[in-house]
């Protein structure tokens, strides 16, 4: 579903960036991408979603090369950043319709999907209000609905659980499982290691722009160590 091969990205005038990132997200995967602040998670996600260009490497979405067919790739995924700055001058429903129009979602289909997820995330009544009046959590929920409105095969999320209330977090986990059950995949960054351990079947740990550990969750934790233990262990090991 998503193949990142030897991705390198350096910011001009800075040492920061990512180097030799290799990640393969298969259909049905819920894939966690973890690392400390400034490790390169968001940079990687922004390269994958076409927001940033990259210096070398290859990104394939459902077999299509992001550099050569960016629009075809983007039709297959949806992305939500860690702090969703949405169009505050639109109402919630106007924003959802804008995204649906871009993805050419038919009227009946979008009505059905919006009604379903707005109900589940309990923001139906607020859809007629301007986004500028929304709380951070409501914006997060709206961004999630906008990501789901075109039924993406791949969902790319940056810190998706930050700002969500407990019920919405449960709904989101359910949505993630539904997408994977239907042949899609999830690739998300998080700091919440407990959630990653319980929810994901694969994980990659990044530090200072390089991958330092990764694999299937069951293999990593087979010795009874928690993901938190492994994370601290590899970070300390790398530092030493």
């Amino acid at each position: 579903m998503l193949k990142i091969n030897n991705l390198c990205k350096k910011y001009k005038g800075s040492d920061k960036g990512v180097q030799d990132i290799n990640i393969h997200v298969e259909k049905g995967d819920i894939y966690a991408f973890i690392g400390h602040n400034g490790a390169g998670k968001t940079t990687t996600l922004k390269c994958v979603t076409g927001i940033h260009g990259f210096d070398s490497g290859e990104i394939l979405v459902d077999g299509k090369d992001l550099s050569k067919e960016p629009i075809a790739c983007k039709r297959n995924f949806a992305y939500i950043p860690d702090n969703p700055d949405l169009y505050e001058y639109l109402t919630g429903i106007q924003y959802l319709n804008f995204i649906a129009d871009v993805f050419e979602v038919p009227s009946a289909k979008r009505s059905e999907i919006i009604a379903k997820y707005a109900g589940e995330f309990e923001i139906t009544a607020s859809l007629g209000d301007l986004i500028s009046s929304y709380s951070h959590g409501m914006k997060q929920k709206l961004a999630l609905i906008s990501a789901l409105v075109h039924e993406p095969k791949l969902l790319i999320l940056d810190e998706p659980f930050v700002g969500l209330d407990p019920k919405a977090a449960v709904v989101l986990k359910g949505v993630m499982h539904d997408i994977c059950d239907n042949g899609g995949a999830i690739f998300f960054s998080t700091h919440v290691l407990d959630v990653a351990e319980k929810l994901c079947n694969k994980v990659t740990i990044i530090k200072d722009g390089r991958i330092i550990a990764g694999g299937s969750m069951s293999e990593l934790t087979k010795n009874g160590d928690s993901l938190e233990d492994i994370f601290m262990e590899v970070l300390v090991g790398e530092t030493d």
């Binding site: 001009k12 927001i51 129009d101 009227s107």
Partner: protein, 527 residues
């Protein structure tokens, strides 16, 4: 005092983006900033030369005594015009309001520090006008110690009154708008009314001056002080202090300036929190009921989004709608005024009708909205970048909206002109074609400049709309080109006019095409 100092440092440390230039490690960012500063320096050189030359001319015609008053008046008017649309964005800005509110700071300290920012910006502008003129005056006329003392105090005090007036007007507009449901639209309408009022007022002053130019030059010179006294009375006090060494006039000038400033700071401080709360609050009804949604085309969706963005910002609307409104006003004015009678006698024959399409185009295309449409995406740029949209989709959406905005003003102007002016058939054709091509070019040129000089990181929209390099270059560049065309059309022999106009249209189309292609080739991820 410590609060004011801390806040003032925070306000002033990134004035004109110097802090970013100082600390950024991104060479592209640094280069862009230097280009912007280069453009600003060129504009400032023009202002400095103008002020110096004007002083020289006044002294040469024996009106040297009016120079200090004239310079103060000019600097105050310019400071007022620049500050009046910025004051609201600086003083009542939403950004950081919550954090500032939660800190143990008095409202008066917050307001004063924000005033200080406006004051320093105005001080820089006014110094650039006053200093060159004063240097010319000091060299050409006899001066004493009191002159220099007056100039020093006068220069420091000069921006206080215009900043105070600008803030008072701005606070009034913002205060009224904050009580309305549609705050941005109300603020924009009030601001447009203000601008049109200023234009009407200034045109009435110009009318007086045009009558005077018919008198002898020396009579005009003699009346300058009277005119300045009417336009800006404190300027005469400053003039008395600088030229005649009148200490009381100097004290009055400084006293009035400080008093006006203090009064406005006090009044705004008292109402600051109330205005900010009302201005930044949004009504949420929580009453939406799910209903069937309608699909629209991609182009329509993108244009509608641009329209929503446009009308959500009073600064954006105010800055960009003035040109089209003035264009319509100009066409209406043509019904009542024969432009040929306004022209002074010149050594060459002037064909006003030939120049009119270009002059109309210059006004119509002033400050095109596309010149800051990319920058205004700001932190939301990620949305279009992560969606399956091509550069062509995004660019066309922005251009189409700008054209849709100008189109009604163009159509109304054309109808008025066609119905009222005695143009021949060719003049009518050029009056239709030239503005149409110019409008398209101004939209494309504005977008081109914005893609070259984007500014996605900003605190207030005013920074983008009024202070960004793309807004200045994109908004003014087209006007300058049109003015050159207008001069050429006005003086070219009648026999060559057809070829000239045809060539002008071809050039406009060709440049539009080249710029449009350049926009399409731009990698939007690097913006």
């Amino acid at each position: 005092m410590k609060q004011i100092k801390a806040l003032a440092v925070a306000e002033l440390c990134d004035l004109y983006g110097f802090n970013v230039l100082r600390h950024t490690k991104d060479p592209v960012e640094r280069r862009k900033k230097l280009v912007v500063y280069g453009i600003v320096v060129l504009l400032l050189l023009f202002v400095v030369s103008y002020a110096g030359a004007l002083s020289f001319v006044l002294i040469a015609y024996g009106a040297g005594n009016a120079v200090p008053s004239y310079l103060i008046t000019m600097s105050c008017i310019l400071s007022l015009m620049l500050a009046v649309f910025k004051a609201s964005g600086v003083i009542f800005r939403k950004n950081s309001f919550d954090i500032i509110s939660s800190l143990p700071l008095s409202d008066s300290a917050v307001v004063f520090s924000r005033f200080l920012r406006l004051y320093v910006e105005s001080l820089i502008i006014s110094s650039l006008i006053i200093l060159p003129g004063i240097v010319v005056y000091a060299v050409m006329c006899a001066t004493d110690a009191m002159f220099y003392i007056s100039v020093l105090f006068g220069m420091i005090s000069a921006p206080l009154v215009p900043v105070a007036i600008a803030t008072a007007i701005s606070a009034l507009i913002t205060g009224i708008a904050s009580r309305m449901k549609h705050k941005a639209i109300t603020e924009a309408v009030l601001a447009v009314i203000l601008v049109l009022g200023v234009f009407t007022l200034s045109s009435s002053v110009s009318e007086t001056e045009s009558v005077m130019t018919e008198e002898m030059m020396m009579q005009l010179v003699g009346s300058i002080s009277d005119v300045l006294g009417k336009v800006y009375p404190p300027a005469v006090m400053f003039g008395n202090a600088a030229v005649n060494g009148d200490v009381i006039s100097l004290m009055l000038f400084v006293g009035i300036s400080v008093a006006a400033f203090a009064a406005v700071v006090l009044i705004v401080s008292v109402n600051f929190r109330g205005i900010c709360r009302r201005l930044h609050s949004t009504t949420a009804k929580h009453s939406y009921r799910m209903q069937a949604q309608q699909q629209t085309s991609l182009t329509k969706a993108l244009v509608q989004r641009e329209a929503k963005r446009y009308f959500s910002s009073s600064a954006y609307v105010t800055n960009t709608i003035i040109g089209p409104i003035l264009a319509v006003a100009m066409c209406v004015a043509l019904i009542f005024v024969d432009v040929n009678t306004l022209l002074p006698e010149l050594p060459v024959e002037i064909n006003v009708n030939a120049a009119l399409p270009f002059v109309f185009s210059a006004v119509l295309c002033m400050m095109n909205p596309s010149a800051c449409s990319v920058s205004l995406e700001g932190k939301q740029w990620w949305i279009v970048m992560s969606l399956p949209l091509s550069a062509r989709d995004i660019i066309n959406g922005k251009l189409l909206f700008s054209l849709c905005l100008i189109a009604p003003f163009y159509v109304v102007s054309e109808i008025v002109v066609m119905a009222t002016q005695n143009f021949d058939i060719m003049e009518r054709i050029w009056f239709v074609l030239v503005p149409a091509f110019s409008a398209v070019l101004s939209c494309v040129f504005g977008l081109f400049m914005n893609l070259k000089l984007p500014k996605l990181q900003w605190e207030t929209e005013v920074e983008v709309v009024k202070q960004s390099a793309s807004s200045m270059a994109g908004g003014v560049g087209g006007i300058l080109v049109m003015i050159v065309f207008a001069f050429a059309a006005a003086v070219i022999p009648q026999g060559f006019l057809l070829i000239f106009n045809a060539c002008a249209c071809v050039v406009l189309c060709a440049v539009t095409l080249v710029l449009y292609r350049s926009c399409l080739r731009k990698d939007l991820r690097t913006v």
